[in-house]
Symmetry: C2
Subunit: 315 residues, 2 copies
């Protein structure tokens, strides 16, 4: 933790006091240099978080002191107490949602939202299948899909307190929860007596787990990969491409936001829908460990280990 | 070879005398039962070929005796001397192209044409990379791309008379020809000083060879798989999906034709373009071994072995 001087507040700038910022695995990848965004050093870590506007430059009309804001783009450096930045580096979030929701709404729920909207035309009764269903994105997928009337088939890894997790995901709105081992052993024939085969598969793991998602898709479906936790490539047999006509695409939230950052209306409309889901209790943040900022190394160490709850720093 | 009686010529039917029919690897897969189309038995083999209209039913207006025709769909059974079929099972081809061109125009050149038109918007100067560049489709890709002003990077397997094949493909219009081994050893840095990275990759092999195509693509490119000759899956690292935003799709000509068989204008417009390329000498059929129909088993046996020239039966 270092003390830095803030730059002067120029006309189109805003001074923000950070309130809360999560520690995400991608934040650590960025520090490790394995993420495709490398910041010039020295740099401040953290890509997500919520802050409060303290002061605005003379040319700023979109924000007032007291507003809550989140950084529009990755690379902001949210692990800090204060920042001075351009007004167009921020987007306002309403203050009638919890601090934890505000701090965690702009990466994972947005990823889930876009993947459910931008690849296949899903209707009430359509089915989506995903692995890593217990991840932060996975939980958001379950909740947003449930709000859309879209059925979810959720694959998790086997673990000691499996039934507890199954119940937790079911409470969020998961229609079906199955472990990788059960899926390999039993398939999903019984599930497909109740719901159609999925038009959309979401894969954040790759390797065998990605293949499990692929094998259950309907003809003409899309498999969207947004992570590679297993660090093993997806194995794609020619027949799933040629005869099942499955399309494989990737999704990277950071890239999407960079492409759409000028389209403020589109960003705001997504945020409005997500905040409405939060207010009505249909989108809750994943269970988090909240830590005061000075205990940041505990949060970073925990995030380096898998199967840990998300950690959020309170500034 | 069996003698069958032709069914009577109904009002909307046509009697066709087959003139020439290739033996393609997919024909053998269909007989082996490994192709996703299974015909009710007993069945006639062969999916491609040209015939001459001998007689038309009273309700047929689109064909006259003497016209050349090819079957619109797979499963026609072209390895026969005569057939009676519905008029809408046929499409007319002009008689001012060679018999060999007519017999081989409706599967492989169409596959090449569709892959060059339906996945990425290619412009003169754009680049396409393909493996299996010496296949019938690969040769059609080279020629159609050259006519469009699109540059091709063509990957072949190393072989005894390599330089001869390189020259052959160059004469067809190939801009760059490289063996898999050269590509693995040297990369394509020198090529990319002359042409942009490819927006489109075409893969008929899979496995390592498919990975070689993938690794050279530009960000945002599409990799189209239309075959799996290596019988090994394509290995797709998460980063090529997420950070390079590459889309993986499949193409199956049979499926495309079934989806568009009512769209006669679209079928004819593709055929018109291809025939015009044939007439102007810019699209030539692959070098073929022509055999009289009774020597069919020689043609079938040769096709079962790889690295053999295409065999065409003359009825």
């Amino acid at each position: 933790m270092e003390k830095l001087s803030l730059p002067p507040l120029r006309d189109h700038c805003v001074r923000v006091k950070m309130l809360a910022a999560p520690v995400n695995p991608a934040d650590l990848n960025m520090i490790q240099g394995t993420y495709p965004i490398l910041l010039p050093l020295p740099a401040v870590g953290g890509n997500e978080g919520v802050g409060e506007v303290m002061e605005v430059g003379r040319g700023v009309t979109g924000f007032r002191p007291g507003d809550w804001v989140v950084p529009t783009d990755a690379g902001f450096g949210t692990w800090r107490t204060e920042a001075v930045c351009g007004a167009d580096d921020l987007i306002q979030v309403p203050k009638d949602i919890s601090l934890l929701s505000a701090a965690t709404i702009w990466v994972n729920p947005c990823t889930a939202y876009r993947m459910l909207h931008d690849f296949q035309h899903l209707q009430p009764g359509s089915t989506v299948i995903q692995n890593g269903a217990n991840s932060a994105v996975g939980q958001a997928v379950i909740q947003i899909a449930a709000a859309l009337g879209v059925k979810t088939i959720n694959i998790i890894r086997d673990r000691p307190k499996r039934e507890e997790l199954v119940q937790e995901l079911r409470r969020l709105g998961a229609d079906f929860v199955i472990t990788e081992e059960e899926l390999q052993r039993e398939g999903l024939d019984r599930v497909f007596q109740e719901v159609p085969r999925p038009k959309l598969g979401l894969n954040c793991i790759g390797g065998i787990s990605g293949g499990l998602v692929l094998s259950q898709l309907n003809d003409g479906a899309t498999l969207v990969t947004y992570g590679g936790m297993a660090k093993k490539p997806l194995q794609v047999p020619a027949k799933s491409l040629i005869f099942k006509n499955i399309t494989f695409q990737g999704f990277w939230m950071t890239q999407w936001k960079r492409q759409h950052r000028k389209d403020v209306r589109r960003l705001n409309s997504m945020l409005t829908v997500l905040c409405e889901l939060v207010r009505s209790g249909r989108l809750t943040p994943p269970k988090c460990v909240q830590l005061p900022f000075p205990q940041y190394s505990q949060a970073l160490n925990a995030t380096l280990q898998s199967h840990q709850r998300k950690h959020v720093l309170l500034m």
